[in-house]
Every structure is written in structure tokens, then in C-alpha cells.
Amino acid sequence: MEVHRKKLKLSNKISELETIRQFLAELGVAWNIAPPVILTLNLVIEEAFTNVVGYAFDDKLEHTIEIVFDKQDNILSISMIDDGKAFDPTQNAEPDINLPVAERSVGGLGVYLIKSMMDQVEYKYKANKNILIMRKKLES
């Protein structure tokens, strides 16, 4: 059994999306993950990260958001950990993607994309921290 782990510590700023992009490009090379999969991971991490930055904190202080990448054999787990308000995004109402254009809204689309593009999404609240775990099976 092969186990790999990498950690990324970010501050609660949208500009950190650039750090995430660069980190994922390097992760793709280091863990031999195909570029289209890296794009998918970038998307789901951006959606989760922007939700946390936008809604988790009531104060103006700097907070650390940690992302832990675990690869065990061909299962990749991405855990996003923050100390903001308890919020379970997996309980979000799903958008109605069949509505005509005039009635469509993009609200809720981010979490819907995460659930659709990952194989499993799990939320925990532990020791005053939100933990969102997103898992995907990689093609070997």
C-alpha cells in the first residue's frame, strides 16, 4: 500500500487561489495525476475555498485554511479545514439545473459541482473546526 500526504496552508484571501493553482500543477507532476483531473480538483477546491473565505468568518481577522491531500493507492482525499462558523455545505439545497434561462440562478452551483465531480463528499465539525473531505478515485 502506497500512502502520500501533502499539506497547504492558506490565509482567507481570494488571492490564494493562485497559490492553489500552482500547488496543484506541482502535485500533478509529483503524484502523476493527469492534467484534466488536476483541472477538476482545482475547480472543486476553488468552489469550497471561496465559500469558506466568503461566508465562514464574521470578523476581519486573518484565518488559516488548511488543505490536506492524501493519496492512498488510487484514492485521493482532499480535506479542507477552517475555524469559521460551523457550516455543512453538503446540506445545501441543490439547484434546479433544468429551469429555463430566465429562471436560472448560479446560487448553489459551486457545491453542486463539487458533489458531481467528486466520488464522495463528507462534512465533519470537530474541535471547533469545519472539515470538508472530498474523495476521488484516480485512474491508475
Binding site: 487561489l17 493562485e18 493553482r21 477538476t40 475547480l43 471561496t50 434561462v101 436560472r104 459551486g110 453542486y112
Partner: protein, 111 residues
């Protein structure tokens, strides 16, 4: 992200290059809304050949453009979506609310 604007027949063609994420979505929005609101364009092709990445922040802008153009009975056509981008459109249900063509030529001829 950068865009190039050209005119073909009676369509304005906006070619998008790079990534549309939460960092630069507002910049893309400003450019596109200027074209729609200030220049009054209602026949638009968004050529996505160079679009490498889009998140829900960018999808939101595509949706706003579609709403505006539908409201004036204009036409918004998308061309050259890369497979990963097309997949995101499919999952979001956007493939049914946009007219998507394999290339810009086909989009313009469809009128």
C-alpha cells in the same frame, strides 16, 4: 485571462484566453457587460478555444450574458469548448441553455 474582440458578419466575436476564476471573473464581467450594455451588442459569439478553466464565478457571467441577450431576442452562441469545459457546462445544465457549436464558423452560419 484576456479577450480579443472581432466582428464577423453581424456578430461580435469575443475570443477568451486563459482562466476565468474568482480572482478575475469581475474583470471578465466588466469587459463583457461593456460590450452588451454600452455597445448594445445583441449578436455575440463567445469563442472558448483558449478558455482553459472556468469556475462557478465565470459560469455566473455567462448566465447573465445569456439572460440579457435573451431579453432582447438576440443571439449568444458559444464555440470551441474544450472537453473539460464542456463537461462543466454539461454538469451545470448549461449545455441546454446555451447554443454550443464546434467552431465559430459553424456558429455564425447557424443564423
Amino acid at each position: 485571462m484576456n479577450i480579443q474582440v472581432t466582428n464577423r458578419d453581424n456578430f461580435t466575436v469575443v475570443s477568451i484566453h486563459g482562466r476565468i476564476d474568482t480572482i478575475n471573473a469581475e474583470n471578465f464581467n466588466t469587459h463583457l457587460m461593456h460590450i452588451l450594455d454600452n455597445e448594445g451588442v445583441d449578436h455575440l459569439v463567445l469563442d472558448c478555444a483558449g478558455l482553459d478553466y472556468i469556475s462557478s464565478s465565470g459560469l455566473r457571467i455567462f448566465l447573465v450574458a445569456q439572460k440579457k441577450i435573451s431579453a432582447v431576442q438576440g443571439k449568444l452562441l458559444l464555440s470551441n469548448l474544450q472537453p473539460t469545459i464542456k463537461e462543466i457546462f454539461d454538469i451545470s445544465g448549461f449545455s441546454t441553455i446555451f447554443s454550443i457549436f464546434p467552431d465559430t464558423e459553424a456558429a455564425i452560419k447557424s443564423k
